[in-house]
């Protein structure tokens, strides 16, 4: 009984902040609440959802958000693994000291808006450092943030810079949980480093990789801060994410009903990596 009383305040606040919004969005999405209705809710059946189904901008943003999440999380896992192996140091050698770890962790600790503003300068055309390098090499400057075909990748690079440390730390913890005897046994068998990685480390790391992928995918599908400050969704909407589109609907177009519909749709999209992860867990569980 006491146990429940101790949990009650926290659980209440959690329900108010996590569950109630979803219920509220479901209600809002069944109503028109915009400037046209003087911001008063008016039930409009499924009109918001019909509009969503036919909204080219929503589907474009959904595709862009998925592409952003898939590419940036893929790169983060790859680089994060490399960084984790680097931080662990050579077998038998000393792990990287606190200094290197602190340096590597720094990008992750910065507020997203701060690092986004920093990257805006790095990408600046023609005065930013990247273009200064291009020009110094005798190449023409490149408009990193105003090329609709490629700006999304500039955003991915900034996100990879920020989030790789998180993945690396998680995988480093995984690496450190692997008993060194296993690795030594493989070395005695004459396995090279690549074989050790493929046959021993990767299989044993897979739960950690799955966890990192799950967490990063969920965060990347809801990306907002970075894109709002770095590109504002541009050029020509080519980097707009679903969260940013929902924000614009609610705060700029003052259409709360449709904004809530986009938010709820984004939440449904989020269930996708969760389901994939559960399926993967089940398969891993039955294989073991």
């Amino acid at each position: 009984m006491t146990a429940w009383l101790l949990m009650l305040p926290a659980l209440t606040l959690l329900a108010v902040v996590f569950l109630a919004p979803l219920a509220r969005y479901a209600w809002l999405s069944a109503h028109a609440t915009s400037v046209l209705t003087a911001l008063e809710p008016v039930a409009n059946g499924g009109a918001n959802w019909l509009r969503l189904a036919q909204d080219g901008r929503f589907w474009q943003d959904a595709g862009q958000t998925l592409r952003f999440a898939a590419v940036s999380v893929g790169l983060e896992l790859l680089l994060g693994l490399a960084l984790a192996l680097l931080l662990r140091g050579p077998r038998g050698g000393r792990a990287a000291g606190g200094g290197l770890r602190t340096a590597v962790l720094l990008p992750w600790a910065l507020p997203a808006t701060v690092m986004a503003l920093g990257w805006r300068w790095i990408y600046n055309e023609p005065h930013g450092p990247l273009n200064s390098l291009l020009i110094a090499a005798g190449l023409p400057p490149y408009p990193f943030l105003s090329t609709p075909a490629s700006t999304w990748f500039a955003v991915v690079v900034a996100d990879v810079w920020r989030s790789t440390p998180f993945v690396a730390l998680l995988l480093l913890a995984g690496l450190q949980a692997i008993p060194p005897e296993l690795e030594e046994a493989l070395v005695l068998e004459g396995a090279d480093r690549w074989q050790i990685l493929r046959r021993l480390l990767l299989p044993l790391l897979s739960p950690w990789i799955g966890l990192a992928a799950l967490f990063r995918l969920a965060q990347a599908l809801g990306v907002f801060d970075l894109i709002q400050v770095l590109t504002g969704g541009g050029p020509a909407g080519s980097t707009e994410s679903l969260a940013l589109y929902a924000y614009l609907n609610a705060m700029r177009f003052l259409d709360f009903g449709y904004g809530a519909t986009v938010l709820l749709a984004t939440f449904l999209l989020l269930l996708l990596p969760g389901l994939l992860w559960l399926m993967w867990q089940r398969r891993a569980g039955s294989a073991a």
Binding site: T2, A3, A10, L110, G118, P126, F224, Y247
Partner: protein, 273 residues
Amino acid sequence: MIRAVALLWSLGPLLWQLYTSLRPADALVSGPQGLGSPGGGIFGGWTLQNYSQLLAADPPFWRYLLNSAVVGVAGTALTLLLAIPCAYGLQQQRGALRWGTLALLLAASLFPTALLFLALLEWARQLGLGNHLLALALPYAALSLPLAILLLRAALADLPPELEDAARLEGLGPLQRLRFVLLPLLAPAIASTAILVFLFSWSEYPIALTWISRESLLTLSAAIARIGASSVFTIPYGAFAAATVLGSLPLVLLLLLFQRAIVSGLTQGAVKG
């Protein structure tokens, strides 16, 4: 060699901000693109004018840092106040109830919080919480609770059960056991949790953006975004860079001081949840 590349990749962008922030505005845009431009070259003409400009602005830039610090401390305190008893209560539960709650908490800790802004804004308006710095602690604590409870619960599970049994035999009630026996032993986990929650509250953006409109109450994140959006047509990158440096400095200090606690918090939270 590879370590040097990793260092350069992590610190390069920041060092470049530091360099930019110390350059006079005309050196950044004059000549053939800044780097190695005539009249001064890469290392000519240092200046602190970008910083003095930021600190002389109205409100001065340190105000945003102070606001973020206030919100960060308040959010962290409220989170711990709610999370510690909850983790203790959760650890007393058995079976499906405990695992179900843990699974829900894990799902909530994965949730991208930007998606919650609209509903939270509605409540803030109804309750008149807008433009109050301390009110931000409420959503920040709520959003930090899942991770905080998971971390603290995992730390509690690591303590030997005999400890509590002995205290119970001594006649201590559950709250006294928590206060006098368990809490001192939880100190490292509480420190890890606190620093992670502080980092989150310090940096949070969507809620600060929508709850706070008064210039003097902006947190660092919201102020940086506003500075970035305010001047699309000029290139005050010296000032941007100075803002980035000033905004990063407190975190560099925190990281240097608490690197170990942060790392253990991050990894424990993921694994033992």
